[in-house]
Each structure stands twice: as C-alpha cells, then as structure tokens.
C-alpha cells in the first residue's frame, strides 16, 4: 500500500536489538506494590479499600470517578498496608494504594472465557471500562471514552499503532509477536464497537520479520498492513494517521474528527482480555533497557512494581545517573527509583552519567534544523525564543500550541538549546492565561 510521508522527522539510533528477539519473561513480584490511583487522563480513581484490608488479585481498589475515569485494581492478592501519597511518575506525590503481596496471587473470581460476539456494544464498553483499559502507548487516555465518540462523529477506520518509534523500546513488538491472536481478536472487537469498516496495522520497516509474519494473517482478515519508513516520530498519532490514510487531523482537533481511531498494540491485547475474559488491566509489557542495564529484556510487569525492583532484576552496571520512564525522546526522567510502573509505562531506561547528553546551551546559529525536523511544521527556534522572553502572544501566533513535544528539535539542535522545554513552558503559560481570561 502507498504510505505518505509526514513533514520533518529525525533518525535517532534504534538500540532495539538488545531486547527485540528474546521472548518476554514474567517479572517476579516485589516486596511491595505501589498502585497509584491516578494512572490515566481524567479524574483519579477514588480509593475503596483501607489499610489492613486483605484483597484478591484483580479486586477493585479504586473506583472510577466520572465518565472520563477508570477503576484501579489490585495487581496481586495481599494486604493493603497504606493508602497514602507516594512518588508518582508525574513527579509529585499522589495518593496510592500500597499492597504487600501474600504470594498466593489468587484471582478474585474465576472468569469464564467467552466469545465477544454474544455481547452487546454497551456491554463490551462497560467491560473495557471496568477493566480499567487505557492507552498504553504513554498517553493513558481511557479507551472506552475514545471508543464512544460524541453525537455527530463517526469512526470509519481503525489503526493499530505498532510503530514504536522510540529508541530502545520493543515492548509493543513483543506483544505483537507473542499475543498475535489477541491483537487480531481485539481488532475485531474494535471494529464492532466503533463500527469502523477499515482496519490497518502500522509498523516501521525496521521490523521486517514482524511484517512478514503478519502479512498472511492480515491478508486473510482483510486488514491493511502499513509498513512505514523508519523515521521518528512515525508513531505519533497525527503523523501515523497521515501516513496510513492521508488524512490530516485538524490542529485543534482529535483523530475522530477525521473518522479515525488509533490504538496501541498493548491496549488492544488488554482490551481483548477485558472483553473476552473480564480480566482487568493489572499487568503490562515493559522494556527494561538502556546503556546502564546489564541484561536488557522485556518483562511482563504487574502494575505498581517499583522501578528499583525492575532494575535489580535486570542488573545495572553502576548506580544509574538517570532513570527514564518511557522512551528517551518523550519519556520523563525520574528523581527516585521508588517510582512504580503504571499503565502507561512502556519502558524503563537506565543511563550512566556518560550517556546523559550535555545540556549547556550555546547561541542559536539559525541553522534551521529544528524547522526542518519539526513533524508539525512549526518553527521551534522562534517559539522557544518568544517563550524565553515571555512573549506569549507571539509564541501563540507561531502555533506553539500545535507542538506535540516529540523532541525532534532539541534532539537535532547543534547548539543544544532545550527547545522543547521552552515550548512546553509556553504551552502551559498560554493555557493558564486562557483559563484566567
């Protein structure tokens, strides 16, 4: 099929070989699980357990608060030791349920596997919501909200995002290889729930083995297989939609405005488990890698497992200087290893001191590389300059709010200017100002 090319983009080194080919392993349970109540976009879940209470695996420990919210479940059976603020991947200390596993790992109730065909769309949506399924590519937007477009919007195309353009990360690849049946079943469910007629799987051409494996299955099921050129950020929603369908999502709009629904591979697998078996989202695939890790690998990790436990499983060459949740381009550097894995965590990277890029910025030499690299066709150097001078009007006129914070501009900048940080600040300040007005 013909794939279009989004503007700009960069070619960061892949670093994927270390974890791409080994099958994923099950991560042993840690001594303590910290399950944050805010693991999704929207209202945080409300705690419904108290310290000292015994819970079973999959039991709801936080119930959804409103439509744009999902419940949170116990990742294993054990004793609740506290419900208190704990370090959260966002940087603040937010309420979390602290769980001491009892080792039994007993399910709350036995779920019978059943065909989704007997369920109504409403029942399926309810199961997805009850299972706490959110976007597992990083954004963590509740999936049932995405599947339920408001009146007047309809979805005709579903795209599975298996692009995984971030260096080091191979979690989506492993899910696709190891749980292919679930992904195809999930795609059927998606088509049924959303009413879409077309389905595509998008992945980069640096994974020819996966593409070859998928091709016959896709052909059999009338699913388009879009093998896209390897270029960062090919996996960004707007760029992926353009590459696969040629539709441009309006700058202030959502994919549903052009009739498209994009779901991450991991989300699809979780969604299948939710609909066909009623299983909640309590485990996910996480890539543990980076130059500071001795045995980089993909682990199936219970939600709430502290990063320190994962790094101990894989071994670190020395005390890491930087720990990143997510990929190196858009992931967030953490200030403590006590941070738990949440539903949106696709990777944990450990950098040694020498791997951390220097951040002393020089003067802009107007080379225009950031302009050429921007996948949203913005002019990062101007926006960042206006942001530093607090010229918010000018920053807004240069479409600062369109920035998707992919990091291409900072990555390429020869003067090492933290462009994304300035633009992110400008976006925040513009929004804050709008709210005030």
């Amino acid at each position: 099929m013909i794939c279009r090319s989004f503007p700009g983009g960069t070619h960061p080194p892949g670093h994927k070989t270390a974890t791409a080919h080994a099958p994923s392993l099950i991560c042993p349970l840690p001594a303590e699980l910290v399950i944050p109540l805010a693991q999704h976009v929207g209202a945080p879940a409300l705690p419904c357990v108290t310290a000292g209470q015994q819970v079973a695996r999959g039991q709801v420990v936080g119930r959804a608060d409103g439509f744009v919210s999902v419940p949170v479940h116990a990742s294993t059976s054990g004793l609740i030791t506290a419900v208190e603020p704990r370090p959260h991947p966002c940087g603040a200390e937010l309420p979390a349920v602290v769980l001491q596993p009892d080792g039994e790992d007993a399910w709350a109730e036995e779920y019978q596997k059943q065909s989704f065909h007997v369920l109504s769309v409403e029942a399926m949506l309810e199961r997805i919501r009850e299972a706490g399924v959110v976007g597992m590519g990083g954004a963590a937007f509740p999936t049932h909200v995405k599947l339920d477009p408001p009146q007047g919007k309809s979805i005709d195309t579903v795209i599975i995002n298996a692009v995984e353009c971030e260096p080091w990360l191979t979690a989506d690849r492993r899910v696709l290889l190891e749980q292919m049946e679930k992904v195809f079943t999930g795609l059927e469910i998606l088509k049924e729930v959303s009413g879409a007629g077309h389905a595509y799987i998008g992945l980069e051409d640096n994974q020819p083995d996966v593409a070859a494996l998928l091709a016959p299955h896709c052909q059999k099921r009338d699913i388009g297989l879009a093998v896209l050129p390897t270029r960062y950020p090919q996996g960004a929603e707007r760029q992926l939609i353009y590459a696969v369908t040629g539709r441009r999502v309006p700058a202030r709009g959502l994919p549903m405005d052009v009739g498209v629904l994009v779901q991450n591979v991991g989300t699809i697998a979780a969604l299948t488990d939710a609909v066909t078996r009623g299983r909640p989202l309590i485990e996910r695939m996480v890539t543990i890698s980076g130059p500071g890790v001795i045995r980089p690998q993909n682990l199936r990790v219970r939600i709430g497992t502290p990063v320190a436990h994962l790094l101990k499983q894989c071994g670190v060459t020395e005390e890491p200087a930087m720990v990143i949740l997510g990929g190196p381009m858009m992931g967030v550097a953490q200030h403590t290893q006590a941070i738990p894995v949440v539903r949106g965590t696709s990777g944990v990277l450990a950098f040694r001191r020498q791997d951390v890029p220097i951040t002393t910025a020089g003067p802009c030499v107007r080379c225009g590389r950031c302009v050429a690299a921007c996948p949203m066709r913005l002019q990062p150097t101007f926006i960042a300059d206006y942001a530093r001078r607090d010229e918010l009007d000018l920053a807004e006129r240069f479409a600062a709010r369109n920035c998707i914070e992919c990091g291409s501009c900072s990555f390429i900048c020869p003067a090492n200017i933290p462009l994304v940080q300035s633009i992110r600040y400008a976006k925040g300040a513009i929004l804050a100002r709008r709210r005030r007005m």
């Binding site: 966002c90 603040a92 951040t359």
Partner: protein, 282 residues
C-alpha cells in the same frame, strides 16, 4: 553651474513644501496631560501597572480607563503629581517592598535531584515540581533576577535570590513570576520577617531543611501580639509587631527563621545561624 543650482534649489523647495503639508495633514494630537504624565512616571517601562510601558499607562490615565495609583516604582511622590495633573483625589498607599521568604540555600536545604536544563525557575518547577525537596523554597535559578527592571535582585553565594531593599520599588513583577510564591510584598517599614515559606509539618521540614520554620509556635507563645500561625508556618503580623518582644522570639527560634533585614537584605542581628552552619557540614 547656474542650471544645477536652480534645479537643486527648486527641488529642495518642492520637497520642503511637501514635508510641511504632510506634517499638517498627518499631525497627531496628543493630550498635553499625557506629555506631562510621561514626565512624572517612573520611566522604567517595567510593566508593573499592567500596561505595556509608561506611555501606554499615561494614555490610559488620560482616557480615564486606569487607576492613578498603579505606578509602584514612582511611589508616593509620583502618585501626588499624577493626582495633580489629572485633578483627582487619591489616597496614598503605604510603600511596599519585596521580601524573599527562604533561607534554605545549597548548604541548608536538600535537593531532590540534579537538575539539568533551562536556567529558569518556572521551567524547572515543571520537572517533578522543582529540584528541591522543599515544595516552597527558593529554587535560585534566577527568573526573578532576569525579570527585575531595577536590578534589585541577585543570586547570592547561598544560591538564593536576594532583594536589595534599597533598590526594590515594590513593583511586584518578581512576585508574579516566582513559581513558588516565595517572594511577596511586605510593608517597606517592616524589617523583621519569618524567612520561610513552608507550611508542612515539622517532621517533613526537618527531613529536608536546616533553617525552615517548624511550626513550633515558640515565637507565638513568646510574642502573641507580633506573630501568627498559618498552618505550620509562623508569620509576622505586619503593623502590629513589638520589636522588643520580637527580638526575644528571634533568639528562641530553634531554626533561626526570624530575621531583621538591613538595606541589602542581609540579616542584622545574627549572621548565618551558627548551629545551622554546624549541622550543614556532613
């Protein structure tokens, strides 16, 4: 020769005529009061009045769309003269000055992480709520220093913003820009302040700061008229303080957070608290 002179001469005349006509035709009338106001305004174009520069404020004053008491840097003198030009009655506001309510410098307050990035407090605050474990202390990256139009702020050896009380005009721009609200305006006549901005409990404060207010209430018990508690943070009751009793409270404060500031912002009575200094060296 003659022809050239006539040619150039007449060309000059025509051009002069055109200029004169243009000056008439496109003349902009300015209210004389606006010109007079420009003379009395501080002229720093600091923007503290909320208008882009003194000129814009003067125009707004003449148009009657702005209050006359917004020029903070000009102070009482400017206010009086603005009132005279506009012919309105105004009540004088007591002069204010910015105070930096934090003593937790590099040696005293524990960092949360090693920050690398834009040297801007607001940007740093967005990464895990700032590089200091204290949620309210000065980050010392100098956003306020850059913003201050009067050069009244600097980052001192402790890594903290310092207000030069002699230069500060109380315009409030630093207060607006500080992401942690550690800078605030206080009456200029007051020199005794509780230099802490942290409202967390003593156990938490002790875990990351040697010089933060513990909320022990000793000062309030010593001088109930002069101090008031806000959560776990003691504050001076500005305008009601009694210097003699306050000096005693100052002595008794376990973390030495109550200080008497001189013109440069340095404390007068005690230099750096000796006990705190000992504890800070690991």
């Amino acid at each position: 020769m003659m022809a050239a002179m006539i040619c150039l001469g007449s060309l000059g005349c025509v051009a002069a005529l055109l200029l004169a006509m243009a000056a008439r035709r496109f003349a902009v009338t300015i209210d004389p009061r606006q010109v007079a106001l420009m003379e009395v305004l501080a002229g720093a174009n600091c923007g503290a009045c909320g208008f882009p520069g003194c000129d814009a404020y003067a125009r707004a004053l003449v148009a009657g769309t702005a209050k006359p008491d917004l020029c903070r840097p000009g102070g009482a003198e400017t206010l009086k003269r603005i009132a005279a030009i506009l012919g309105v009655e105004v009540t004088e506001r007591p002069p204010q000055i910015a105070v930096m309510y934090c003593q937790g410098g590099l040696q005293q307050a524990r960092p949360k992480y090693d920050y690398q990035g834009l040297q801007d407090c607001r940007a740093a605050q967005k990464l895990a709520r700032g590089p200091k474990l204290c949620p309210a202390g000065c980050l010392g990256l100098g956003s306020c220093v850059q913003k201050c139009p009067f050069g009244a702020l600097s980052i001192d050896a402790r890594g903290l913003a310092m207000v030069d009380r002699g230069r500060c005009t109380g315009c409030g721009l630093c207060v607006a820009i500080c992401p942690r609200q550690v800078l605030a305006l206080a009456p200029a006549t007051e020199s005794i302040h509780v230099l802490c901005n942290n409202r967390e409990s003593a156990a938490r404060v002790k875990s990351y700061c040697n010089v933060g207010c513990l909320g022990c209430r000793l000062c309030v018990r010593t001088a109930p008229e002069s101090f008031v508690m806000d959560s776990f943070l003691a504050q001076v009751r500005y305008g009601r303080g009694q210097p003699a009793v306050m000096a005693e409270a100052m002595e008794r404060c376990p973390h030495h957070c109550i200080l008497n500031l001189d013109e440069q912002g340095n404390d007068q009575i005690l230099p750096t608290p000796p006990s705190a200094r000992e504890r800070s060296t690991p």
